[in-house]
């Protein structure tokens, strides 16, 4: 049943650009990007129980790194995607090493302040980021073939997404993934089992930064323009809301949340003034009544309904 569903989803994703309009393809690219961002958030919050509030900043670092690698160095696409992830992870490693020395919560506070500081850097470092004018992103090229529109970018974006989903599964099943969950459940117990708590937290944080950096590179593939305004705390909250809607700690929830709430947020674009209230209410209401996410909530209630 599950395999069948997966195959159907794959088939749908592959034929999608052949049958749909340009806007739908653009939306699909965007949702896939958000999926990777959510996977990053899922690793740090859902798996390891740590807080990173700078996803948007790492996403931005990924976008600009990729733009720079493309224009200034003329690197091929796979290399610039990898570089985007690594630069973001490296920056994350520096902040994480310092922030995780004391209290857990310092990571949340340091990343919160870092996000604000980075937005200022994006706005002010004109030679690299274009400053307040934003940056035109030149088309990426893969094997000598230029990617000029959403339709051409789609297969590449899809391939990267699948690769990142696979990586998430591999990490979750590895020793490191088990260490993440051990640290989340009880640091003392994890320590007693020989898990190095500090290193594990740091690894989760750096990995989430890597995912956000790669997501940035994905955005740079199909997008032609980026402005620092869209790299603020708002974007971090959007990603957090997606993960919360999908269910904290659930891998499929992170993907489902990205797609379901990605579509909702695209609809909410029509009513920007309600956006903040709706995001905020979703965060509060889910934490109050459905901390395991929308899908688990529906599943639980269906079971109860079936029994009655």
């Amino acid at each position: 049943m599950r395999i069948l569903g997966l195959l159907a989803a794959m088939a749908g994703l592959i034929v999608l650009p052949l049958i749909s309009s340009g806007y739908v393809v653009y939306l699909a690219n965007l949702l896939l990007t958000f999926t990777v961002l959510c996977l990053g958030m899922h690793i740090v919050i859902g798996e390891a129980g740590q807080f990173s509030l700078a996803q948007a900043a790492f996403y931005g670092i990924g976008i600009y790194t990729s733009g720079l690698a493309n224009t200034a160095f003329g690197w091929p696409l796979p290399l610039s995607v990898l570089a985007s992830g690594l630069v973001a992870a490296l920056v994350g490693l520096c902040i994480g090493t310092l922030a995780l020395r004391m209290r857990d919560i310092y990571l949340a506070l340091a990343t919160f302040a870092f996000g604000e500081a980075m937005q200022w850097v994006f706005l002010s470092w004109t030679p690299v980021t274009g400053g307040p004018n934003g940056l035109r992103i030149p088309p990426a090229s893969l094997l000598g073939f230029e990617i000029v529109n959403d339709r051409q970018a789609y297969p590449v974006v899809l391939a990267i997404t699948i690769l990142m989903i696979w990586a998430t599964v591999v990490i979750a099943r590895s020793r490191l993934g088990r260490a993440f969950r051990a640290v989340r459940e009880s640091e003392v117990a994890a320590l007693a089992m020989g898990v190095s708590v500090q290193t594990t937290k740091l690894a989760a944080f750096a990995l989430s930064a890597f995912f956000a950096g790669v997501a940035g590179a994905m955005f740079a593939i199909y997008s032609t323009y980026i402005h620092p305004d869209s790299l603020g705390f708002q974007t971090t909250i959007l990603v957090l809301t997606m993960v919360v809607v999908g269910g904290l700690g659930s891998f499929s929830g992170a993907i489902g949340g990205a797609i379901v709430f990605g579509l909702i947020s695209e609809l909410l674009r029509q009513a920007p003034s309600y956006q903040e209230i709706i995001y905020g209410l979703i965060l509060i209401v889910f934490m109050m009544f459905a901390p395991r996410g929308l899908f688990a909530f529906i599943g639980d209630n269906l079971k109860r309904f079936a029994r009655a």
Binding site: L98, R101, A113, A117, V188, S273, E276
Partner: protein
Amino acid sequence: MDLQLALLFLQQGVASGLVVGSVYALLALAIVIIFKTSEVPNFAQGEMLMAAGYVALYLLVFRALPAWASISMTIVVAFAGAALFRRVVLTQVAHASGSPVNLVIATLGLSYVLKGLVRQTGFGDTPRSFPALVSTDSLMIGQASVTRLDLAILGTAIIVMAAFFWMFGYTKLGRAMRSVGMNPKAAQLVGVNLNRIHTIIWGLSGAISAIAALLISPKLLMTADMGSVVTLGFAAAIVGGFASLPGAVVGGFIIGIVEQLVGLFVSSRAITLAPFLAIMLVLILRPQGLFGGRVVIKKV
């Protein structure tokens, strides 16, 4: 830069730093009392301040109520709102999962709801200026120029902090709060009502944010985003070690002075980076903060 000018800048920076720092100190205090008793960093603290500022603006300007009435009503509203959030929302969140991460997410949710609500009312659409209740004539202290308003801000902040420290240190309620911070289970055993204490602490934290809002609002243009001042409150709390109340106060003054000096000596645009740099510097040089002791891992 010659010595004369540097001295002038230094005096001016310290004077204005003490004034804004007193507001950051209040904000840090409001953050730390919640963190100390429930291990939750309240990310909505800045928006609580912002919302309280708009309530005061509404009462004072749009309803034309007298100042004393507007001020006391604002503080009461902030106390009630924060206490209600703790009592209704956070109790349910803790009941639903118990993971501290979920409580933090709920406070992030509150910050967005408050911001969105203020925008919805229409007050938040354009920057507004809050009327100064004290004259803004300037005085010279040494070579630094400060206004009467500045002195009133500093004075009020110090009185509020003194009152809070007296309450926390010398009353039965304060003792109950301290005991909850040290060991909630033991506190409960000797008859402290945890729920009541947590609710009062949230209320007090809201009230202190409201006072901070009343003090800072005349000094800046009010927008729905003015809650971002909370980053400086967090920075102040980290400088002080995050679990120390005197630390939060001293941290507030340090952050205020550093911010003003950076503005005068480096550039006013670099001020945005000040909180992040201050946090990182503290984490590098003295990660336990100026007043923090060792952090002990809680036993299971």
